[in-house]
């Protein structure tokens, strides 16, 4: 989804933060991926905010979505124009209160924002991996996060929180490492992509691969497939909005003109918006990472992996307390998908709360300022603290 859409420029913030790196799986001890391939060394970029208490019981792991990074909150430098992507939620006194919690966020494996991914240097060839980079899964991303937490000597996380593909990581955490997860907040997410979600991802991938600059993924020495990636992002943005939000935001308004241009410039506001989002995105994101991460999301199927096709069976492994949230206008991860995971949690006797928040902004709603979401998360986390007697 579209991280970096809104931020509170003048609000309270965690202040200056620093991106850190953790490297593991040095050859010959490479990381065995779910696909069977091996990868190493693996570097994970991460940031932390707040203080880990003496009992190490106040850690919260935030999992970002497709295009996010480890920079959840705060600023790298005093004059940074923008804070991290979820600064409205993470900070002193905010929904995820950094006065109380020790917040960790890693850049996911396969991404391009500091963690090892297709744009990283392949130590064997001394060139970027490109398509030699093995396909990674949501499970692999979570295992890499686990490796970092082990290094930080965190044995239990108070909560794992994330939306969209980040929500898939949250669910994976709960069934893969049930003993480590006290509570979990999967937002606007699913246990498996619908055909609709896969279809949009495939069209986006095709846009990248159809760009002559993509060159089978080996483009790092030359011009990048910027146009393909921009189109992929434009498609993404359509899925993050909704019919209603697009009608309210753009309607059929024209961009800086009163009449059609009668050629193929951006006439409509919505065209101009999408072009802008596309152009902005290529400045910060790698086309191959986009391919790898969307594929990982499409492959993800929690039921199949842990329950032989049954969600109830899959969640029988989970032990966490859950807060599941969906949004009314999210057509990428519609409410029925959240409800079906809630149903499976209930059937396993898990402690689960669920709220479908009225929101007109589509899938993006979970990143926008939303008092309801903030209050829900705050209340839930407070209860979890109370119940574990912290």
């Amino acid at each position: 989804m579209s991280e970096y859409i809104e931020h509170d420029r003048h609000g309270i913030s965690v202040g200056l933060v620093e991106k850190k790196f953790f490297t593991f799986a040095e050859p010959p001890e490479k990381m065995a991926l779910e696909s069977g391939a091996k990868l190493g060394p693996v570097t994970i970029a991460y940031e932390t905010y707040g203080r880990l208490n003496a009992e190490k019981s106040n850690a919260i792991l935030i999992c970002h979505a497709l295009s996010g990074d480890s920079h959840v909150a705060g600023y790298y430098e005093e004059d940074d124009p923008k804070p991290g992507w979820w600064d409205i939620m993470v900070g002193p006194g905010k929904g995820i209160d950094t006065d109380k919690f020790f917040v960790v966020c890693t850049n996911i494996l396969g991404s391009c924002m500091g963690s090892t991914g297709p744009s990283s240097m392949n130590p064997e060839t001394k060139k970027p991996y490109g398509r030699d980079f093995p396909l990674v899964t949501v499970g692999d991303m979570v295992r890499a996060q686990r490796a970092l937490l082990d290094d930080l000597e965190i044995e239990k996380v108070l909560s794992v929180i994330g939306g969209s593909i980040g929500g898939m990581q949250v669910l994976e955490w709960c069934v893969r490492y049930p003993e480590m997860v006290v509570s979990a907040i999967p937002l606007a997410t699913t246990t498996k992509h619908s055909a609709l979600a896969i279809a949009f991802n495939e069209v986006a991938r095709q846009a990248i691969m159809a760009d002559p600059n993509w060159k089978g993924g080996d483009y790092y020495a030359d011009s990048k497939p910027d146009h393909g990636l921009a189109v992929a992002r434009m498609i993404g943005h359509i899925t993050y909005l909704s019919d209603e939000s697009m009608r309210l935001k753009f309607g059929r308004q024209l961009k800086d003109k009163n009449n059609f241009s009668f050629h193929f410039d951006a006439d409509f506001q919505v065209e101009s918006y999408l072009r802008y989002q596309g152009t902005k995105f290529v400045e910060r994101f790698d086309a191959n990472s986009f391919l790898y991460i969307t594929k990982a999301a499409d492959y993800y199927d929690l039921e199949k992996k842990y329950g032989d096709g049954s969600a109830v069976e899959a969640f029988s492994r989970a032990k966490a307390k859950f807060l599941v949230v969906s949004f009314t206008s999210d057509w990428l991860y519609p409410t029925y998908q959240s409800k079906s995971m809630v149903q499976a949690m209930k059937k396993n006797g898990l402690d689960v709360s669920f709220c479908e928040i009225e929101a007109e902004w589509g899938h993006d709603a979970f990143l926008l300022p939303n008092q309801r979401l903030t209050a829900l998360m705050k209340g839930f986390l407070e209860r979890v603290c109370l119940e574990i007697g912290k």
Binding site: K346, V352, F354, C355, E356
Partner: protein, 211 residues
Amino acid sequence: MSALKLENNGIRFDLQIVASWIEPGAKVLDLGCGEGDLLDYLRKNRQVSGTGIECVESKVAHAIERGLSVLHGDINEEIDDYADNSFDYVILSQTLQQVYEPSELIRSLLRIGKKGIVSFPNFSHWGIRLQLLFSGYAPISRQLPYEWYDTPNIRVITIKDFRKFSKEVGFRILKEVAINTNSHNQKGSIINFLPNLRATYGIFLIGKGAS
């Protein structure tokens, strides 16, 4: 009228009675929990781990914000997901008059709960009877404060009706209390004499098996 020792902790009188029937440590499901007043009370005063189901988003959100475990959804659908005897008590407080299939819901309630607690406004209270007799309009009371055209209540129930209903559906009434209180009042009294005529609410503890 008999005096009952109840801890008045800011919750409605009828909820105080319901709470007094629940042992500490019990597992409770509250169907139509609203903002979770009862669950909150039970959690704080009875060490009860409760879950609520509520269909209004703002109420669900408020309940979760105050630290309760609540599901946003329709009680008729949500109830199906629970295994038999998942709860010690399943509560249906002042909601029965809004339910489309009461007998089905009561059966589900007693499937997933060992016991049920059902309360509703008593439509045969003398005030309501007199209103209909003398005014000729559909009665409006403090307990049922709606015009016929804007009421969420799709049926009216009397205490006698519910006793008859228990025989027809086949469940047991284990305890029954009729009270006189207003819809949001924290104070009220228990009615032992002519409850069907004098009580504004009926509260029933029900169990499995024919009465």
